[in-house]
Structures are given as structure tokens and as C-alpha cells.
Symmetry: C2
């Protein structure tokens, strides 16, 4: 159909060289005004589109940025990506999406693929801190490609990160449960190899300590972020000698499962049992028995990550910037833990 129009085609038509066309289109001040106008008019008439690939090859910048997440179909990650996209779009960047599905191997592949694709930066949430792909990360850094972690971070020199204060999130939530009168607070914990879950747990522990409540190992149940896991956890917890009267779950989905199981057993929430989750997934607000949860401001997290990238992208190679942004978590107290509101 329509042939691809290049600056050579325009040059030929106007009996000038491609160099002049290029300069005219790039507002090079050395071009005669009349020539510039003519070129621009002709380019428009011929429906010329600059070939970004050629430009990218020449300049070494692709104007693409890679984003790696465990999966995209979770409200949290999708919202972060939205934030990134909105912040970067005005700067002419396109966002390339990769999913790891919580596999270190995939994460590894994605890193190499993005570097191959010459992205100008990578913003990601790591899959597993103990994963064996430091080589891939070092490869990114060696190529001087800015790397920014968000939410799930990993300690690597030269890598910036944007996280929330998970410790404080855990602390605030646990304190809140204590304030509501709960004495035996259990914790559904996530994968402790990930900082975020460790910190939520530590915040929980510290809140207990500060309130003179003894920490009990048996109250800590490791769960996957799934409804079913929450149900099973309740099952386990209620069989304890002293069953808990509250749960601080590091996952909203597990919190939901816990609530479902508690209801099943006719345990009244929040009267006899309080539950709080983490992430502020949309459904926590929508439920009839709305669920208390910690908001991670994913949109802001995405935008912030993008800003950190922009700060780094133009810096000279020699200066390694390592910026650690920590956002404040926000506890949304809802019915599942509001005894006062009953």
C-alpha cells in the first residue's frame, strides 16, 4: 500500500540531501527558513513518519522502559504500572511489560531480554530476594541501564528503590487491633525471604512488644496470598490451646479467606474477632463487612519510581545514584476491625 517514506524520499523530491531534510525537521538553526518550511510542508504532504528504530540505533536510546512484575493482573501491580505509564508518557517513553510469574528463571530471562531490547531503564518488583540471578542484575548495571526496584526490593549497590514502610504498616495495623481490645493477635505472614513480608512481620512483633503483649511463634502462620490459605490458617489457629482473637494478615486475599472461615464458624466479626489485611485491594472496601487494610498507594509508587528513573537516566555514567524512597503506608480502618463503630 503506502510505501514507507524516509527522509531520502523527501530529499529526492525537493532535490536536496537527506542531511538538509533531517536538519530542517529537527529545527537545526542553520537551515534557511524557507527551506525548513518547504521540507516540513512536503514531509507532512508525503505523510512522513520518523523511523524511531533508526533513531534509536543511532542514538543508543530506544525510548522504551521495561517493567517487570510478578503478574500484571493484580490490582496492585496494574496500578503501579498505570502510575509509571502516566508519568513517563509525557516524556516520550513507552512501557514494555514483562511478567515473572514468581519465577526467578523468568525474571532472569526478562532482564536479559529487556537489555537486549536496549531499554533505557528497568523498573521492577523482584520475585525472590534469594534468587540466583545476581548476574543478571550486574549485567544491567554494567550496561549503565538505570534499575529501580519498587515494593519488593533487594539490596544491590547502585540500585534505587521505591517502597512503602512495611514495618510501619505492620506496626500501625497491629497497634490498631490492640487498641480495639484484641489480646491475642495472630499474623498471616508472607514469604519471609521478601523484605516486605519480613518487615510487616517485624512491625507486628514490635507493636506487640511495645504493648507488653508476649509474642507467640505459633500465632504466625505462613500463607500464600490466596483465599484458601486464609481459611486453612484459621482452621489451624482455632485449634490452638489459646486461639487468637484477631488476625493481621499480610495479604488481603488471605484476610478474606480468614473472614469467610470465621463466619462459617459463626464467629462474630469484629465483636469476637478482628481481621485486618494488607494492600487495600478494591474488594476490601466493597465488601459488606469491609476489611481493614493497609494502602500502599500503588499509583504514587509507580509515579515515584518513574521520577527516580528520569532523574537517573541522563546522569553521566560515572556517578552512581542510589536513591531510596520510602512512602508512608496508610491504614484504612473498616468494619472488620472497628468495634467502636458497631
Amino acid at each position: 500500500m503506502s510505501e514507507k517514506i524516509t527522509i531520502y524520499d523527501i530529499a529526492e523530491k525537493l532535490n536536496i540531501t537527506a542531511a538538509t531534510v533531517s536538519r530542517a525537521l529537527n529545527n537545526n538553526p542553520k537551515i534557511k527558513e524557507s527551506t525548513r518550511e518547504l521540507v516540513i510542508k512536503t514531509a507532512a504532504a508525503m505523510n512522513y513518519k520518523q523511523n524511531k528504530l533508526a533513531l534509536a540505533l543511532k542514538s543508543g536510546r530506544s525510548n522504551n522502559i521495561g517493567v517487570i512484575v510478578p503478574r500484571i493482573d493484580s490490582n496492585f501491580f496494574a496500578s503501579v504500572i498505570r502510575g509509571i505509564e502516566e508519568e513517563l508518557h509525557p516524556h516520550g517513553y513507552q512501557v514494555i511489560i514483562c511478567q515473572t510469574h514468581e519465577s526467578t528463571k523468568r525474571e532472569n530471562e526478562n532482564l536479559y531480554t529487556l537489555i537486549d531490547a536496549q531499554v533505557d531503564g528497568i523498573i521492577m518488583s523482584v520475585t525472590d530476594v534469594t534468587g540466583e540471578n545476581d548476574g543478571a542484575f550486574q549485567n544491567v548495571l554494567q550496561k549503565n541501564v538505570p534499575l529501580i526496584f519498587f515494593d519488593r526490593s533487594k539490596h544491590i549497590d547502585g540500585v534505587s528503590s521505591v517502597t512503602i514502610n512495611d514495618f510501619r504498616g505492620g506496626y500501625l495495623t497491629t497497634k490498631h487491633l490492640i487498641n480495639e481490645g484484641c489480646k491475642y493477635i495472630a499474623h498471616l505472614s508472607g514469604d519471609q525471604s521478601l523484605e516486605i513480608f519480613k518487615n510487616r512481620f517485624l512491625g507486628y512483633k514490635q507493636a506487640l512488644l511495645d504493648s507488653g503483649i508476649t509474642f507467640k511463634e505459633e500465632y504466625v502462620i505462613p500463607v500464600k496470598s490466596m483465599v484458601e490459605a486464609g481459611k486453612n490458617a484459621v482452621d489451624t489457629l482455632l485449634q490452638l490451646e489459646t486461639p487468637p482473637d484477631a488476625i493481621f494478615s499480610s495479604s488481603d486475599f488471605a484476610a478474606l479467606g480468614a473472614i469467610q472461615e470465621l463466619k462459617e464458624r459463626k464467629i462474630s466479626i469484629p465483636n469476637d474477632f478482628c481481621v485486618a489485611g494488607f494492600s487495600n485491594e478494591p474488594f476490601t472496601k466493597f465488601m459488606e463487612l469491609s476489611i481493614t487494610s493497609v494502602d500502599q498507594s500503588p499509583l504514587e509508587m509507580g509515579k515515584m519510581s518513574a521520577r527516580v528513573f528520569l532523574e537517573q537516566v541522563d546522569k553521566t555514567d560515572t556517578i552512581k545514584i542510589e536513591k531510596k524512597v520510602v512512602l508512608a503506608p496508610e491504614l484504612h480502618i473498616r468494619k472488620s476491625s472497628s468495634r467502636a463503630a458497631i
Copy 2:
């Protein structure tokens, strides 16, 4: 830090030409086995990475595919994107995300940007069928870039689409409400300029007709896909001379709002009033009073769109393939409309 290694560097080191290196790395059969091995070993030792931009410029294929959605932070769109990514990743494609925020202008920009970026195809859900950017679509087609619509489609020659049978979704849901004994069924309709909403509405209308129920214009309330809109709609409907006893909402969010408002007014669901939504958003299942909804199998829709793209991408320019895939909607009957289950 580490310089960028090119095939010229390898060639220089081995005292051969870049052409030989290129051929060795590409398993060209004309290369001596010993040379091939040597090149491959040296390339690995030097940590050579093929520059995809150079390849893309030469071959005219970027191995990127553009995906345009109204917004990414909705379960439906995120799931579709997940499907696309999973299907295309094994084929070496990267997915580039663009959001329109329901703006035709942005949609237009995104189309041009993606073409500029030399994507190998575009998979999208249109923002507004009546939007004035046919020029942008024609531009895509003229460049022989495969264009595939999913969910929200637009009739354009040469464009394939993957949708669900919205008419049938509306029909099934309405029939179900009728079967539950509802006699006065209202409809919260979406933007009628979009096929999907028109078809859901037409399915609703047909179901009424087939059951001998008179269609009433005043039972159709246009809403945005928001909780608040659902509340307002109920407010309006209940002021009618003959208020309805059921709502088929084209949006889960509006359905949720409707339910909240009905509860507020102490109207018993599903006993006195049935409600059904559309999209099968995660929260519809999680609610205590779970909401009946139509599943659009977004993951499958994404994968199917990707497959249609793959079919078209290698075809010669002359043959215009126009494939219309219509997936079956699946009605998930839940508590908000299950009188039998009480």
C-alpha cells in the same frame, strides 16, 4: 563500565570479518564448523549481546507489539494483557502498553506513537466507536501493521476482532432474571456508541420480548461504570410509578452501587429484588452477597487476540485477513439473583 560488544569486536579479535561472525551466530550452513564453534565461544566469553535495534532496523521488525486499552488498572484489561503477554512471550514478542483514559485524542496519539515505534502489530480495545480518528486506523492499515480489536470493536475493513457475544450475555442474564420470577427488569446501560453496550442492551430487550414482557424505555438508565452511578440509578428507578424488581447492569461496579442503595433502603436481595452485573470482576465473587455476573474470559480473549495476530503477522501484504472471533459469555449465577438458593 563494560563496553558494548558488537560483532565487529568479535571479528577483530578473531581476525575474520563481521559477516562471518554474523553467519556463525545465525547458524548459517555455509560456515565451517570449527569457525562456528570458535565464534560462538568467543562471543560468549566476550559477553556479546545482539543489538536488537540494529536487527530491527535491518529487518523492519521490532518484535514489539502494541496494546492500547482505556486503562490498565481494571481487572478485565489487566487480565487480557496478561493473556496477550503469555501467548506472545514464547514467540519473542514484547508487549508495549498504552492507555487512552477513554480519550479519542489519546487513542489517536497512541496509534501514531506505536506506528512510529515500528511495532509489528497492534491489539486494542477502542475508546469510542464514533471517535474521529479513522485516519489513524487507516494509517495503521496502510502500513500493513496487523490491527486486532478485542472486546470493544469497531467496524473497519481489514481489521480482525475478538469479542464475546454480548448480545447473548445480555440475553442469558435477563432470561435468568425472568426465570427467577422477576417481572419488571431494569437495565443499567453503558455508552451506546460502543457495540458491546448496545448488544448487551439488545440482548436484554430480546429476552424480554421472547418472554412476553413489555419493554419500557424508562427502565433503561444510562450509567458510567461506577458505584455511585448504580446508587443514583436505583434512586431514579424506585421513584417510578411501577418500580422494577430486578436490575441487569452492564457494569459490575454499577451493580454493586445498586445493591448498596437497595440495602440502604432495606429492600431484600434476592427475595424482593434481583441484581446481575457484567464482567465478573473479582469482587463480585468475594462479596458476602455475591453478585451474579457475566464472565468475559479475559485471559482467553487476550490469548485469542494474540493468536489472531500471529496468524496475520507473516502473511503477505496482499492478502487482507479479517477474522472475527466471538467467544461465548458465561453467566455466573450467584446470590444476588438466586432465589432458589435461599
